[in-house]
Symmetry: D2
Subunit: 296 residues, 4 copies
């Protein structure tokens, strides 16, 4: 549950309405940090969390094998896309409800809560049935109708930063969710659009440090979308934790080169295990709850 | 109705499905230009069109007076926002259905078709009842769920370019609408986000010329959002038509300084009339002080 | 010669020194416009000027033929690069002093003043001997040592906007030249770097309108570097004049496909002639199908 | 000295000349890493280096006190600007040669090599007399005349990335120095210009990881200019080392609030000491050489 600092924030000038133009951003007293629980995993606490899984859910075998493998390597939340936002209508659009079911099933088998993206107001209800954490993708960060709908769900929301959103705009979108009554928000930096196309996006880690300073919300980093390049994910994940992020979210696939989407940036099981052993800050594990999958 | 060039485009590789990654962009033979009819107004024909009206519908008096005034000055389509995408949840969000009704009424009184923004999948049906042209705002350009819904309406769509959308991404979003069965699309350039904050956005008129070359769709220019500055709207509107745009869309308000949104960029009735009279003036002449080499 | 408005500007707070951080930008009273003479050509007057010529001076035949041809089509200043700023040291670097001589010779034969780029402090003296207008390229806009040197020459300077310079930074660089004692400055917009790589750069024509409003200096537009695409130069040149620019600068080559630099954006003699004939055409008319409300 | 990998690179296609357009970037075999010596400090070795000192050299007391303090905290190279690139000609321009002398003196007293910026071709000789490492500032990254001059000095060069330089353009500028005969190059990421002005620049740490992958040159990170915000320097410095940088360069001032330039981003002695204790990767110290200044 969020502390009094947020209530003050949401209320703005103290009487529940904010003056025009004076955005009551999600500010805080430095000592106050919100912890958001996703299933039995706390985000924003002393330990960093790692979310991992395939870009798209493609089949039962693919998502279950991935879930078991990333769990073994230390991930604590399973990611997987059932509804895929693709630039072109001719690209793979995801398995939809069938994908949700497979994701849920894989999460249950591995004993992990699951996160998946919601693209449509009309899908909110069904995704709430199957997922523990609902992701708003970068392209929908200012889809205010969707944000308002999500503010009524009571579910934790993973709000990705838009590709050209300033830090202030990002927090203002978080305010839409708060304003509607839902204070269970985790922010996610996934790279912004700049003039340099050497990589897929430009990862803004100083922006993460800034957001951590401006707000009490947890912030995680997505090195997969930020770089779009397998060989740089380990270095940028480490840097993300070093800058103060509360966790990372990484794409992992049994056979990245055969993936139906984003094959350039997905890690194999082996590379993900290597990544985990390289992380220098302690990450949260699930030993206690699921000893059968404990990291050796 | 669109010509054969589009059908080919939509079909991609000719058998109705496109290869992964090979976006069948909206290409064309140079001589083919689509004309989109909004009520009795053709967009994309030999003459440029001017759409004008308030940023937000605020009251019956405001929108009706504006409609009559801009009509008198030469506008042929009435614009007005009933649902407003605002960065902050604490800013004015629009009058909703009531605003739609007032807009329709004002359009009928002045004898003009109306254009208004749709922000939510759930509002599509009601907006279709009241509006002649449905606008997808910049922030929703990659709200694919909304695009798919609009592709089923049969209504003309005004697709604004996203603030960080490349020309290719913009056309790919148009493809979502086409792919779903609706070929009544007008594109709108309204400025992109760059490092320079001297103005609200950076108007990309060369991008307009490029889009006119790549596709047969009509393209209009929005100098109000592009510049955010009243004094520059006339110059940039003229430049938009000079670069080849099929029209412009301009914000006009009876008392801009009292507007509930975007007051800096709305024109008064008098300034709009001045703008219109400027659009028909010839461009400046060239300096040629060597009569022996003078242009014939 | 510049008017009193500039003197005030240069002096800042009136006693010759400006307070820290309070940049005395090149402001003006609206009615005051500076005219900069390059040889016998006035820039900033009632008529627009056209500068044209090859990207690089390559040979006597090439530059002379181009000079005569562009003059015949209506250009009044000859451009041509003798020192070429190339991203890579392995690309053609220009003919140097030999190029300067050939450019001067061609200008004299065709009866046109010449403009060329200066890249090095050490070349300033020799370029002053041969050229009428000295260009500071985009990459050197904040090469303050060069600007200071040029401020002592008394020659007219063509100051290109840097690829990531805000309007304020651009004018601050102009202030370096003014501050050193040279008020003969012409600004040139040539496109800025943005996320969209559809074209070589993003042409900022609203920025041109803004600069015209903020300063009394003449501003010209370079559609060749802005777009990097031959087929768009005519449309963007027209738009540049429509937005209020005082002229354009265009690359022309006898055989563009064989040019040693920028071959994609240079116009053939025939295309340049077409461009010139397009610049004087009236803009399109407006659609107004309701005669009862017709513009008088 | 650089290894064979570079020679191959400089030679391009193997015969000393590169094909037009085919930039022979500074590539390498993964196992080869260049070490650049600045005085007795190796950059690019197993330990990270920390360079620190004031933005501008302001007085003997200021620079000497800073040198002794940062040395005590673990810095191994002293930085300080004598020639200052300022956006406006009305801002403090640096002490020039007098500043160089004070910097050298302070470095000698503290037993540290010194780095300072060179802005003008004409200053190269005098700066070579006083400095151990010559910095090319961001604004001059594509000042090719300066790069060519520096390629003849034999001195180590610190090449900052331009504010809108792609990684490829940055390496191409390094090629200018290599091409002229100087292979003593250290790269420095200092933030790029993007749409987001929440901070002074956007620090591109994934770009650092990419450059480390593409080239054998050492790369350091400048969190002071990247963020422009004192409170974020520690977090971003840590992230810089975590992503693989070979060192950091940080601005430190006895009384930051009184600094003549960049006062917002300079650290006090106490904050710099805190920063050093927070760095998680081993940094190189000078114990061995100067035991009298050893860190306790």
């Amino acid at each position: 549950m969020l502390d009094a600092g947020i209530t003050k924030s949401v209320n703005g000038n103290g009487n529940g309405t904010a003056a025009k133009g004076s955005l009551p951003l999600v500010t805080h007293e430095p000592q106050q940090k919100s912890v958001i629980w996703v299933g039995d995993v706390p985000i924003g606490g002393a330990e960093a969390v790692v979310m991992a899984g395939p870009c798209s859910v493609e089949s039962r075998e693919q998502v279950t094998a991935t879930a078991l493998s990333v769990k073994r390597s230390g991930a604590v939340i399973l990611r997987g896309g059932a509804y895929k936002p693709r630039t072109s209508p001719y690209d793979f659009q995801g398995l939809g409800v069938e994908g949700l079911k497979l994701l849920r099933e894989a999460g249950d088998i591995a004993g992990m809560p699951v996160v998946t993206e919601v693209m449509s107001e009309e899908d909110v209800a069904v995704i709430c049935e199957f997922a523990d954490l609902l992701q708003v993708g970068a392209r929908n960060m200012q889809n205010f109708a969707l944000l308002k709908k999500l503010s009524k769900t009571g579910k934790p929301i993973l709000l990705k930063r838009g590709p050209s959103a300033t830090v202030k705009e990002w927090l203002a979108s978080a305010e839409y969710i708060l304003h509607g009554g839902n204070d269970q928000i985790v922010l996610c930096e996934r790279g912004i659009k700049t003039f340099d196309h050497s990589l897929r996006n430009t990862l803004d880690l100083a922006g993460v440090a800034l957001v951590k300073e401006m707000t009490h919300l947890p912030v995680i980093v997505d090195p997969s979308h930020a770089t779009g390049k397998r060989s740089l994910i380990s270095a940028t994940a480490k840097a993300g934790l070093a800058v103060g992020a509360d966790g990372i979210i990484v794409e992992v696939h049994p056979e990245p080169e055969k993936a139906l989407s984003d094959s350039e940036q997905q890690l194999s099981f082996r590379l993900f295990e290597e990544l985990m052993s390289n992380l220098t800050r302690p990450v949260r594990t699930l030993f206690a709850h699921h000893p059968e999958f404990a990291v050796v």
